[in-house]
């Protein structure tokens, strides 16, 4: 595709901190290359804001290669922007055209309070993981992981679920701000492997209890999460989570 340059209007959510109300500010940006990433486009704007003595837009980012899950923002109503299976850092400006008006908001959910501008606090996810998203390992010599035979399709499904980068786009996309896709990915990842066996029942109960405590909504199966997930985690994992949870409760955890 031909490289081109564009002028855009950005409507960006600015918010000082958790306790103040935010609002949209409008920024025109000129000469944006179609080859830039979305974050690089914001970098260009921020450099200008700093030069002008203004306050740069705060946003989360780390790897900028689609693996850390930090780059949370909602672009024109879509967490991580309009491309399927893509994080914001991997979204390129060729997704837009000259003259576009782009609305950029933070992930919005009570459980993800805004720290500043587009940055949100996703430590609720960390607490869900701490509640049970681990496996116990014996001390002593490290065991060869490949020594344990694992059924091929189980390994594949587990691996696909393990691709979840904990970005929170599923929560941001859900009309109920439900964290079920994230939790289901973590549960599936471990429940399908023999290494996850010992804590299997206790894990699902603890993680769901913590998820509810954090104030995430209840899943109503609209599947907006799956449509927005940058790692294309399947909602069939949510069915597995429901099975695991019901099973753990019925069998007397």
């Amino acid at each position: 595709m031909q490289h081109y340059s564009m002028n855009l209007t950005l409507k960006v959510w600015r918010q000082k901190n958790k306790n103040t109300a935010g609002s949209f500010e409008t920024y025109p940006v000129q000469g944006i290359s179609s080859e830039m990433s979305f974050l690089e486009m914001i970098d260009v704007l921020n450099e200008r804001l700093i030069k002008e003595g203004g306050d740069p837009i705060a946003f989360d980012h780390d790897c900028r290669e689609g693996i850390c899950g930090m780059c949370s923002m909602v672009i024109d109503g879509r967490p991580h922007g309009p491309w399927k299976g893509t994080t914001t850092c991997q979204l390129h400006m060729r997704a837009f055209k000259d003259g576009d008006v782009i609305t950029i908001e933070p992930f919005r959910a009570n459980s993800f309070p805004v720290v500043k501008d587009l940055m949100v606090d996703r430590s609720a996810f960390d607490r869900v993981i701490q509640a049970g998203g681990y496996v116990s390992v014996n001390t002593g010599n490290a065991v060869d992981g490949n020594a344990i035979p694992i059924q091929k399709d189980k390994a594949d499904h587990s691996f696909a679920a393990a691709a979840c980068i904990g970005c929170g786009a599923c929560v941001a996309a859900c009309k109920n701000a439900s964290a079920m896709l994230f939790v289901s990915a973590k549960i599936s990842h471990l429940a399908l492997l023999p290494q996850g066996g010992p804590e299997r029942k206790q894990r699902v109960v603890s993680m769901i209890t913590q998820m509810d405590k954090e104030g995430f909504g209840s899943c109503t199966n609209t599947y907006a999460c799956e449509a927005e997930c940058p790692k294309e985690i399947s909602v069939l994992n949510i069915a597995r989570l429901n099975r695991e949870y019901l099973g753990a409760n019925l069998s007397g955890n």
Partner: protein, 236 residues
């Protein structure tokens, strides 16, 4: 098993919605089957006898109590979940993805459910209340007296606006089921890559066929249409 913990959890609440939903779906099938008498010749006698059976059989009367409990649980829990889910995002988005990432009816279950509830109130007032508490004319078959519920239906469906309300009620039901059937299967954990296409197809067929048959009932009665049972025997 700690059942209070289970049913107070987010997944437990969904399981209540799914199980009551499945129960109500079974009821719809029975209701549809019994009422399908109205399409055929000798509708009056066949329907009145079937209604008499449904109204007097002890097992069915006990199930009816369960049915009301199922409805109430589904409705109350549904509204509670809706309110709770609406409170999880105090600061709203300026732009939303709308239909790009999910179906409108999957996001509108509370609205569709409310329309069905309004319909249900009208429907119970029309038929269930007079059947159980009197107000119907009587008719005799083989020397035995029966409520003439069929005549009541004829009179009520003579009004065009009633027919329209009933058909609209069936539309709400259809969309509610279109999301509800597969959603219940997902909540119960029955969906997996092997069964997903099957479940989706069953859900689609069910939410199309059942409301369609229901919608045709007031239309048939309004226009005095009758399917000849003889013709039907030929068909099958």
């Amino acid at each position: 098993m700690n059942s209070s913990k289970l049913f107070n959890s987010s997944i437990g609440k969904k399981i209540v919605m799914a199980l009551t939903g499945i129960f109500l779906v079974v009821f719809l099938v029975v209701h549809c089957y019994v009422n399908a008498n109205v399409f055929f010749s000798d509708a009056e006698e066949n329907f009145n006898r079937a209604a008499h059976f449904m109204g007097t059989n002890l097992l069915i009367r006990v199930t009816e109590i369960g049915l009301f409990a199922g409805f109430i649980l589904h409705i109350v829990q549904g509204y509670k979940l809706e309110l709770q889910n609406r409170s999880t995002r105090k600061s709203k988005y300026a732009v939303t993805a709308g239909n790009k990432t999910s179906k409108w009816y999957s996001r509108s279950m509370a609205l569709l459910g409310t329309l069905i509830l309004l319909f249900l109130i009208i429907h119970l007032a029309h038929f269930w209340v007079p059947s159980r508490f009197g107000g119907l004319t009587e008719i005799e078959y083989d020397g035995k007296s029966y409520h003439n519920l069929y005549l009541e239906m004829k009179n009520i469906f003579a009004e065009p606006w009633v027919v329209i309300v009933y058909v609209l009620g069936c539309f709400s039901l259809g969309w509610h089921l279109l999301h509800g059937v597969q959603s219940a299967a997902q909540t119960m954990g029955w969906t997996s890559s092997n069964y997903l296409p099957l479940i989706k197809n069953i859900g689609f067929a069910f939410s199309f066929i059942i409301p369609l048959i229901f919608a045709l009932m007031p239309i048939f009665m309004h226009f005095d249409w009758v399917l000849n049972t003889g013709a039907l025997t030929l068909l099958f």
